[in-house]
């Protein structure tokens, strides 16, 4: 990750930044990074006039891009209470000043979670160490819970987002068989649990659940009948076979698999010049 330009330094760095921008401009129609593609794919999923539960990293950049590109009325809500901030400087932490700077409110964790429980939050974004065919996620532990091989941070708000948002979108920047597994070591966050109707039987809100998985290889969704993961559309230059080989369980592959377009010049321009000009994340 690049160093954050402190605000005191920022004026002094202005010249350097604008020369970097010139360098970027020449790349606008050319190549793009994997992170930039991921951000664009996520941004395209976000509709105008909805509320999105945003964490630091890709979801935040995607929300900022969506707002400036096609969804000016998208409301970004940060976990610790910041709502609809200016996002002209990107936060590194879900409670940081930038999550509410010149926003509409800065209340509390409980307030945001209660809004999600009341049904206000359309989109929720989730990362994970493991994801299974039903979109259930592990962010707690690899190995035995009592004595884990790798202790991961835990749910944080992940399990809440998976329970309470209408549509959850899982982000997997490194699609491989270690990530996409038939069986999780630990189910931190509910996807479709073990199939159709299972969420409702468990008591989770009606009509909520996993919506998409966005990976470096493809966008995936879920088959309506069995609630299992299905290939939706391929990222540029990726084959069906490559996605299959990189997935540790049988993936449903429909006859008509879509194609995801590369980032457009307009998306890249906004992303590089307006969303993350200091290159904190991209």
């Amino acid at each position: 990750m690049r160093k954050v330009a402190g605000n005191g330094q920022r004026a002094a760095e202005g010249a350097a930044v604008s020369s970097r921008l010139t360098a970027h401009r020449s790349r606008l129609t050319g190549d793009y990074s994997g992170t930039e593609l991921l951000i664009c794919l996520v941004a395209r999923l976000m509709e105008n006039g909805k509320m999105a539960f945003i964490g630091t990293g890709v979801p935040m950049l995607a929300a900022a891009l969506a707002k400036k590109h096609h969804a000016p009325g998208l409301l970004a809500v940060f976990e610790f209470g910041g709502t609809d901030p200016a996002l002209d400087v990107l936060p590194l932490n879900v409670g940081a000043q930038q999550t509410f700077q010149r926003g509409i409110s800065a209340v509390s964790l409980a307030e945001v979670m209660e809004a999600a429980q009341r049904g206000f939050l359309e989109y929720g974004f989730l990362g994970a160490a493991q994801i299974d065919p039903f979109g259930n996620l592990n962010t707690t532990a690899i190995g035995e819970h009592a004595r884990p091989k790798v202790r991961l941070p835990g749910s944080g708000g992940g399990c809440d987002i998976g329970a309470l948002c209408w549509k959850t979108i899982a982000l997997v920047p490194n699609h491989n068989v270690q990530k996409f597994v038939e069986k999780l070591d630990f189910m931190t966050t509910a996807g479709y649990l073990d199939g159709p109707g299972a969420r409702e039987r468990a008591g989770l809100p009606r009509g909520s659940g996993p919506y998409r998985v966005v990976s470096n290889l493809a966008v995936l969704d879920y088959d309506e009948k069995g609630r299992r993961m299905r290939l939706h559309s391929l990222n540029p230059g990726v084959s069906v076979d490559e996605v299959r080989r990189s997935t540790g369980f049988g993936l449903i592959v429909p006859d008509n698999v879509g194609q995801n377009g590369p980032p457009t010049a307009e998306e890249l321009r906004i992303l590089r010049r307006e969303v993350d000009p200091h290159r904190l994340y991209i």
């Binding site: 160093k3 954050v4 402190g6 605000n7 005191g8 330094q9 630091t56 940060f78 976990e79 610790f80 209470g81 590194l92 932490n93 879900v94 409670g95 940081a96 000043q97 999550t99 509410f100 700077q101 010149r102 800065a106 209340v107 509390s108 964790l109 409980a110 979670m113 999600a116 429980q117 259930n136 707690t140 819970h145 009592a146 884990p148 091989k149 790798v150 202790r151 991961l152 941070p153 835990g154 749910s155 944080g156 708000g157 992940g158 399990c159 809440d160 329970a163 309470l164 999780l184 189910m187 931190t188 966050t189 509910a190 649990l193 299972a198 969420r199 039987r201 468990a202 008591g203 989770l204």
Partner: protein, 321 residues
């Protein structure tokens, strides 16, 4: 009725809490200013359950946490919600039980101290979520023994929690019942308060509202003391009224090396130094020896990390409103 199999470290006791509040909380205004040594010495005991606000490297009560580690009351339980504050407590070896919510550093990566402690098997961990923790505090704040919710259902997080599940008595809807959590000690860093502890927080409240009400004992650290008249001029800004507060510790730059909104920015080189040190057990001990156990007070700590000059730089790095 479903039941998580995790240990319940603090049993809900609504009547006990009422009696505690009646007997021990300072109902009328008294000057509660004291040194961090006195506050921690008087209000944090071995075997206590500790909880902190806010999150990550933002408005965390770092100076108080460092003092807790210096005084080293053992056998602690903690609400495992946080970044560097919780990470340091985990690294200190004082913690035996964790209500885990999230221990890590977000974009800066995993907590190596937690990873080592968990792999050793020397800590008992019960799983919860951010909402569950906020609502458990809320239940305690409301003076009730539990609160129903719709989170955690169907997951291993529930299985390894100490929550229960069952039908709503009115609608039949399946719910997750979260037990009230009243920590023995809450540690909260605020922007300003008066000498009685009437406190204001700028920016997001995090868990502060609920935690301040749920805590049996509450230690505030504050960037500055303001006169009571300043509080009375804008009472709607008081997030924590004095009757909740047991001790007030003045700790300018108390969240260092984390940020304090509108006051000072995160000290990134110091954070990087910390994260690097925590990669190994040896580095971790060296860090604790130098920056925590190697100083006698927050004042000495500030001198060690660059003193007034560095703090002014961090103030400049912070944006205004």
């Amino acid at each position: 009725m479903g039941s998580g199999e995790g240990a319940l470290f603090v049993r809900p006791d609504a009547d006990g809490f009422r009696e505690h509040v009646r007997r021990n909380k300072p109902h009328s205004p008294v000057d509660k200013r004291m040194s961090e040594q006195e506050a921690v010495g008087r209000f944090v005991k071995a075997g206590d359950y500790l909880a902190t606000d806010l999150y990550g490297m933002v408005r965390a009560p770092m100076s108080l946490v460092r003092e807790v580690i210096r005084q080293a009351p053992g056998d602690l339980s903690i609400a495992g919600q946080g970044g560097m504050d919780i990470d340091l407590l985990v690294a200190s070896g004082l913690v035996r039980r964790i209500d885990n919510v999230y221990i890590g550093h977000e974009v800066f990566g995993l907590s190596n101290a937690y990873r080592r402690l968990a792999a050793s098997g020397k800590v008992e961990v019960t799983e919860w979520t951010n909402a569950a923790l906020a609502w458990r505090f809320k239940a305690a704040a409301m003076g009730i023994p539990f609160i129903p919710s719709r989170t955690m259902l169907g997951t291993d997080t529930f299985q390894k929690s100490a929550a229960r599940s069952g039908p709503c008595p009115f609608s039949g809807q399946e719910l997750c019942f979260l037990p009230a959590l009243a920590p023995d000690v809450g540690l909260i860093h605020v922007h300003r308060c008066d000498k009685f502890g009437n406190a204001q927080i700028d920016g997001t409240g995090g868990l502060g509202f609920e935690l301040s009400r749920a805590s049996r004992r509450l230690i505030l650290s504050t960037e500055r003391i303001v006169p009571e008249s300043a509080i009375r001029r804008s009472p709607e800004r008081t997030v924590i009224p004095h009757y909740l507060v047991d001790a007030v510790v003045v700790a300018r730059y108390g969240s260092h090396p984390g940020e304090m909104c509108y006051e000072y920015a995160m000290d990134r080189p110091r954070v990087q130094e910390y994260l690097k040190a925590m990669e190994t057990e040896k580095g971790q001990e060296a860090y604790l020896d130098r920056y925590v156990r190697g100083v006698r007070s927050h004042k000495e700590y500030l001198e060690l990390v660059g003193g007034a000059r560095q703090m002014r730089k961090l103030e400049k790095d912070c944006r205004g409103r």
